[in-house]
């Protein structure tokens, strides 16, 4: 029960078999000593590795963060107070979860190009709420030159983020070809 489910499903029987073999060779006391030490070392490591591999959850987090930022900005532009809550929330999520977001873009079997594109998309997506927050003071009731420039910049970054994201996920994963 201590190990991640996929590890238990795949190697549970082998672990029991090996413990049985160890007990037969070393005696139950020494076998359990070795297994206990092994548990202390491996349980946190395998749990951590499983958490770090949950890239799909992280990808959903990226989409949710960008969606929150977009919804917040649109709300503010059409005069709904919901944007006041959504935009800072998106920024907080992007900042506090940046480690998880970055890890999701660094999968083991992805090609270098794919990783690079997804990483750029992530950085751009995370900068969206920041750009909006920075440009808040210059956004007034009327559209001035500064507001148009800020909105144009934000839109350009959004388009670039979406483009990099789409090109990243459509880049084929690299495969190791045996010699």
């Amino acid at each position: 029960m201590l190990y991640p489910r996929d590890f238990r499903d795949r190697y549970g029987d082998d672990l029991v078999q090996t413990l049985t073999d160890l007990s037969a060779e070393l005696g139950p006391r020494r076998a359990w000593q070795r297994v206990t030490l092994d548990l202390v070392v491996t349980v946190p490591r395998y749990r951590m590795e499983t958490l770090m591999k949950q890239e799909h959850n992280s990808m959903a987090l990226i989409v949710a963060t960008v969606a929150m930022a977009c919804a917040g900005i649109i709300s503010l532009f059409i005069g709904l107070p919901l944007g006041v809550l959504l935009v800072p929330l998106a920024a907080v999520v992007a900042i506090t979860q940046r480690g998880k977001l970055a890890r999701s873009m660094d999968t083991v079997d992805a090609s270098r190009l794919r990783r690079k594109r997804l990483r750029i998309a992530g950085v751009l997506a995370m900068s969206l709420p920041v750009i909006y927050l920075v440009s808040l003071p210059i956004l007034g009731d009327e559209w001035g030159t500064d507001a148009i420039v800020a909105f144009g910049l934000w839109t350009a970054v959004l388009i670039a983020a979406v483009s990099y994201f789409v090109s990243g996920i459509t880049t084929p994963k690299s495969r190791v070809i045996p010699p």
């Binding site: 078999q17 090996t18 297994v35 092994d38 349980v43 045996p178």
Partner: protein, 96 residues
């Protein structure tokens, strides 16, 4: 490296590692199978259907090196050998 001698099951791999390291490396079961899992995922090791003896326990799973795994073992062996040569020549320049 323990699989370069041939197909082995998990407990035999543990024994081979301990023996070849003169007891310095003593793997636990979870360390062993965690390592095997990673090697299988990276296509360096695969499960084997062959049984060295017919009276062996059917439940035991045997593992063997893939072609890529053998190539990686060879490359790692060469790399370590080169490192040892460099270290020897630096430490004992007159003898190298």
């Amino acid at each position: 490296m323990a699989l370069t001698a041939g197909d082995r099951h998990g407990y035999a791999i543990m024994g081979a590692v301990e023996e070849s390291s003169s007891g310095v490396v003593r793997m636990g079961p979870a360390t062993l199978y965690g390592t095997l899992k990673k090697l299988v995922e990276r296509d360096l090791v695969e499960e084997s259907d062959r049984r060295p003896s017919s009276n062996d326990d059917e439940r035991r799973r045997y593992y063997r090196l893939t072609g890529l795994g053998q190539a990686v073992c060879q490359a790692e062996s060469n790399r370590l050998s080169t490192l040892v040569s460099i270290a020897n020549s630096n430490l004992r320049p007159g003898l190298a």
